[in-house]
C-alpha cells in the first residue's frame, strides 16, 4: 500500500518514549486508554462487560487489574445510565471514557448525548462542562445483522456541541483516542469493528490481512495525540478525490489500485471538526469527487460533504459529485455483502466519474 504514511498533520504531540510497537486496532485503543489512565487519575473507564472481562472486543482487557475497580468497572445493561452517569462524572471533574458495546445500542442514551452532554457548556455559559468520550464499535462486515452493524455518525455530526471521530488504523486510533480523552468537550469515538483485527478492504472472500503487515500498525508506545480536525491523504492522485473515513478508506484504496484510476484518497479521521481545507485543496486539484461511506445514503454525512464540495469547489468540478454509500435499508444479515459498498461499487463509480464530462 503505497503512500499510506503520508498525513496532513505535522503537529503530532508526543511525550515520553519514542519507541514504536506493532499493534492491532484493539491493542492501540487499549494502549490509548492505558496511557491516559496512567497519566491522569481522573480518567475512568466503564461500560457493559468492560471491567473484569475487559470488553467483548477486549479493548479494556487488563485495565481493571492494573488500575483497580474504581477506575475501570462493569456497568448495568443500561446505555442511558452509562452515558447519564458519565455526564454527571464529567461535570464533577472526572474524564470518563465509556464504552457502548455496539453503536446500535446507543439509542437509549441519545437524549443524554444530545440534550445533556452536548449542551451543558452552552446552556450554563461554561459554568459546567462535559469532557466525556463515548466509544462505540460501528459498521458492518461481521455478519452482525441490523443491530450490530449500523453506522450512526450522521446522528452525531448533526448535533451542535459534539465532536465525532472515526479512525481507520491503529496509529490513528491511539492518537485520536488520547486527543479525545484530553479534549474539553464530549467526543463520539466510532471504532469500525471490521478494522479491529486487520485493514479490511471489502474483499470479504479473501483471507484476512493482519495489521502487522500494514505500515499504520506501527504505533508509538507512549503518549501521543493527533489533533482532532486534521484529515490524512492516504493515497495521492491527480484524477479524482475519494473522501472516506473508517473502513471505507481501505475500500477506496483497493478500488483505486484495482481500477488503475489515479485517485486521491482522503481519510477524514474526524468528521467534526472537519478538515475542509484538505478536501477543498484536493478536489480543486483533481476536479472530480466521490463521497464514500458505509452508512445509509439519505441524509448521511456524505450529503454534508457533497454540499460543502459543491459550495467550495463548484467551478473546479468536471463532473457531478458522486456518492457511494450503504443502501437506504436496514443492514441485512445474510445479504451483508450485497449491502456493503465494497471495491466493486466504488470501482464502478470511479469509472463512471472518469467518463463523465
Amino acid at each position: 500500500m503505497p503512500n499510506c504514511l503520508r498525513t496532513c498533520a505535522g503537529s503530532v504531540s508526543r511525550a515520553g518514549s519514542d519507541a514504536m510497537a506493532r499493534m492491532t486496532m484493539i491493542e492501540a485503543i487499549r494502549s490509548a486508554l492505558d496511557v491516559s489512565m496512567g497519566r491522569d487519575e481522573n480518567v475512568v473507564v466503564y461500560g457493559e462487560d468492560v471491567g473484569f472481562f475487559g470488553g467483548v472486543f477486549r479493548c479494556t482487557h487488563g485495565l481493571q487489574q492494573k488500575y483497580g475497580v474504581n477506575r475501570c468497572f462493569d456497568a448495568p445493561i443500561n446505555e442511558l445510565g452509562i452515558v447519564g452517569t458519565a455526564v454527571g462524572m464529567a461535570a464533577y471533574g472526572l474524564r470518563p471514557c465509556v464504552e457502548i458495546q455496539f453503536a446500535d445500542y446507543m439509542y437509549p442514551a441519545y437524549d443524554q448525548i444530545v440534550s445533556e452532554a452536548a449542551r451543558l457548556r452552552y446552556r450554563s455559559a461554561g459554568d459546567f462542562t462535559c469532557p466525556l468520550v463515548i466509544r462505540m464499535p460501528t459498521g458492518g462486515g461481521i455478519f452482525g445483522g441490523q443491530t450490530h452493524s449500523q453506522s450512526p455518525e450522521a446522528l452525531f455530526t448533526h448535533v451542535s456541541g459534539l465532536k465525532t471521530v472515526v479512525p481507520s488504523n491503529p496509529h490513528d486510533a491511539k492518537g485520536l483516542l488520547i486527543a479525545a480523552i484530553e479534549d474539553p468537550d464530549p467526543v463520539i469515538f466510532l471504532e469500525p469493528k471490521r478494522l479491529y483485527n486487520g485493514p479490511f478492504d471489502g474483499h470479504h472472500d479473501r483471507p484476512v490481512t493482519p495489521w502487522s503487515k500494514h505500515e499504520l500498525s506501527e504505533v508509538p508506545d507512549g503518549h501521543f495525540a493527533l489533533p482532532l480536525g486534521k484529515a490524512a491523504i492516504r493515497r495521492e492522485g491527480a484524477s479524482v478525490t475519494i473522501i472516506a473515513y473508517g473502513t471505507m478508506v481501505h475500500v477506496a484504496e483497493a478500488a483505486a489500485e484495482e481500477t488503475g484510476i489515479d485517485a486521491e484518497v482522503i481519510d477524514l479521521r474526524s468528521l467534526l471538526p472537519l478538515d475542509l481545507d484538505t478536501i477543498v485543496a484536493s478536489v480543486r486539484k483533481t476536479g472530480r469527487c466521490i463521497v464514500l461511506h458505509e452508512a445509509t445514503l439519505t441524509s448521511g454525512f456524505g450529503a454534508e460533504l457533497t454540499a460543502l464540495v459543491q459550495e467550495h469547489c463548484f467551478y473546479h468540478l468536471e463532473a457531478p459529485i458522486m456518492r457511494v454509500a450503504g443502501w437506504d435499508t436496514p443492514y441485512p444479515h445474510a445479504q451483508e455483502w450485497a449491502y456493503f459498498p465494497g471495491p466493486a461499487r466504488v470501482g464502478a463509480a470511479l469509472r463512471e466519474i472518469m467518463e463523465s464530462r
Binding site: V44, N70, R71, A75, P76, N78, L80, G81, G84, T85, A86, V87, G88, M89, A91, Y92, G93, L94, P108, D111, Q112, S115, E116, R119, L120, R121, Y122, R123, S124, A125, G126, D127, F128, T129, S160, G161, K163, P184, D185, G229, L272, P273, L274, L276
Partner: protein
C-alpha cells in the same frame, strides 16, 4: 375461566372540574406517629415508611414526635423568611411575565418548604441537580435575587447569556446544576456526580430532583439501578405535587402504592414526608444526607405536597381539576404552618410577620428594579448576538467561525 372480554384500564383522578375536591385517597397519619429509625438500619426493616407520611407539625402548630429536628427559633425564622422571599419573588415574576417582560415563568406556590428546607440540610460543597420548581435551593443559599431575575429577563446581565428559558438557572458556586428543561435527565446525572465523589474519595454528596410525573421516564429507573448498584452517595428526591401539567399523579404511579415504594425493589430505603411541613422536610433531608455522607448509599424521598398554582404561565388548571381543589388539600400551606409554629413557640407574632412581609417585598422590588435596569426580554440591555457562537465548544471550530462571520456579528 371467564367469558368476559379484556378491559383496558386508564386511571382517573378522584375529581375533575365541576366536582368537589376529593383527597380521601391521601391517607394522612398523625403528626409524630411515624418512627425515626437509625440511619444505618437495614432498608428491609423500614419498608413500611415508603407507605406512610412523616410529619412533625400538628394541627395546633406544635412540633411533635421523634422527627423533631434540631432547629432553633432563629433558624426557623430564617427558613420562614426564605419561603416568604420565594413566594414574593414568584408573585413579582409572574406579574412581570404578564406585563410582557419575559416569555415564561413557573411558580412554587404550596411547594416552598421542600427546596428551602432541603438546602439548609445540605452542605456548601454538595450539588443539587434540580428541576424547574426548586428555586428555594438558590434563595436559601443566598444566591442574589438580581442574578435570578436577570436570567428570567434574558438581559445583558443574564449569567447564562440569554440561552435558556426563564427559571433554568445554573450556578456551580451555589451547588445548583444547570437545569436542562428535558425532564428527569438530570436524575441519573446526579447519581454519576455522586459516584465521581466516591471514586475520588471526597466527602461531597449529590441531590437528585424529579417530579411525580417524570418518575415515569427511563432516566429515573436508570438512576435507581446505578445508585443501588454502586451505593452512590446521593439523595433521590421525588416531589409529588399531585399534578404533571394536566395529568394526575396516578398516571405515572400506576399500580405502585406510592412513588417512594419505587425504591424498595432496588433495596433503596424510601421515606415519604409531608412536604408542606418545613420541620419534617428538613429532618428527613438530614437523615438521607447523613446516610449518603456515611457511605450507607442512596435514599429515595417522596415529598407529598400540592401544586397550588398553575404548572407555568402557559397553563390554566381550571381546565382539568376542580377550581378550588387547593383549598381542600389536607396538608395545608407550608408558610401558614411554619408561621403558626413560630407563633406557638413565642418566636414570632402576626405583627412581625406583616413587617417581614413588607420588608421582603421591598427587597424583591428593589432587586427587580436593579435587574430591569439591565434590560428585560423585549427592551433594554440584551446579551450579544455574538454570544450565540460561544460555548458550543471550548474553542470555536472552523465551521462556527465561518458561520459567525456570515451572521455579521
Amino acid at each position: 375461566m371467564t367469558d368476559q372480554p379484556l378491559r383496558f384500564h386508564v386511571p382517573e383522578p378522584a375529581s375533575r372540574p365541576g366536582g368537589r375536591p376529593d383527597f380521601s385517597n391521601v391517607v394522612i397519619p398523625e403528626a409524630g406517629s411515624v418512627r425515626r429509625p437509625p440511619v444505618d438500619i437495614d432498608p428491609k426493616e423500614i419498608r413500611d415508611l415508603a407507605y406512610s407520611i412523616i410529619r412533625v407539625l400538628d394541627r395546633e402548630g406544635q412540633a411533635v414526635g421523634p422527627w423533631v429536628p434540631d432547629l432553633d427559633g432563629d433558624a426557623l425564622i430564617r427558613g420562614m423568611r426564605h419561603m416568604m422571599t420565594l413566594r414574593a419573588f414568584d408573585a413579582r415574576m409572574q406579574m412581570a411575565q404578564r406585563q410582557g417582560k419575559t416569555s415564561f415563568y413557573m411558580q412554587h406556590t404550596g411547594e416552598e418548604a421542600v427546596s428551602c428546607a432541603f438546602r439548609i440540610a445540605l452542605g456548601p460543597e454538595d450539588m443539587n441537580f434540580p428541576t424547574y420548581r426548586q428555586a428555594g435551593l438558590l434563595i436559601a443559599h443566598d444566591y442574589p435575587l438580581v442574578d435570578m431575575m436577570c436570567q428570567i429577563y434574558s438581559n445583558e446581565r443574564d449569567p447564562i447569556k440569554g440561552r435558556q428559558l426563564p427559571v433554568m438557572y445554573s450556578s456551580k458556586a451555589h451547588g445548583f446544576f444547570s437545569i436542562s428543561g428535558n425532564l428527569a435527565t438530570q436524575f441519573v446525572q446526579a447519581v454519576g456526580w455522586a459516584m465521581a465523589s466516591a471514586i475520588k474519595g471526597d466527602r461531597r454528596i449529590a441531590a437528585a430532583w424529579v417530579g411525580d410525573g417524570s418518575t415515569a421516564e427511563s432516566d429515573f429507573h436508570a438512576a435507581l439501578v446505578f445508585a443501588s448498584t454502586y451505593k452512590a452517595p446521593v439523595v433521590l428526591n421525588v416531589v409529588n405535587n399531585q399534578w404533571a401539567i394536566s395529568t394526575f399523579q396516578g398516571i405515572a404511579r400506576g399500580g405502585s402504592g406510592t412513588f417512594a415504594a419505587r425504591g424498595l425493589g432496588f433495596g433503596i430505603p424510601a421515606l415519604r414526608v409531608d412536604g408542606n411541613d418545613y420541620l419534617a422536610t428538613y429532618a428527613v433531608a438530614q437523615w438521607a444526607i447523613e446516610r449518603a455522607r456515611r457511605n450507607l448509599g442512596p435514599t429515595l424521598v417522596e415529598y407529598v405536597t400540592y401544586r397550588a398554582g398553575a404548572h407555568s404561565t402557559s397553563d390554566d388548571p381550571s381546565a382539568y381539576r376542580p377550581k378550588h381543589e387547593s383549598e381542600g388539600w389536607p396538608l395545608g400551606d407550608p408558610l401558614i404552618r411554619l408561621k403558626q409554629h413560630l407563633i406557638a413557640l413565642g418566636a414570632w407574632t402576626e405583627e412581625r410577620h406583616k413587617q417581614a412581609e413588607a420588608e421582603i417585598l421591598a427587597t424583591v422590588i428593589a432587586a427587580q428594579k436593579e435587574a430591569e435596569g439591565h434590560g428585560t426580554l423585549h427592551s433594554g440591555g440584551k446579551p450579544s448576538a455574538r454570544d450565540i457562537f460561544e460555548d458550543v465548544y471550548a474553542e470555536l471550530p472552523p465551521h462556527l467561525r465561518r458561520q459567525r462571520q456570515q451572521s455579521g456579528v
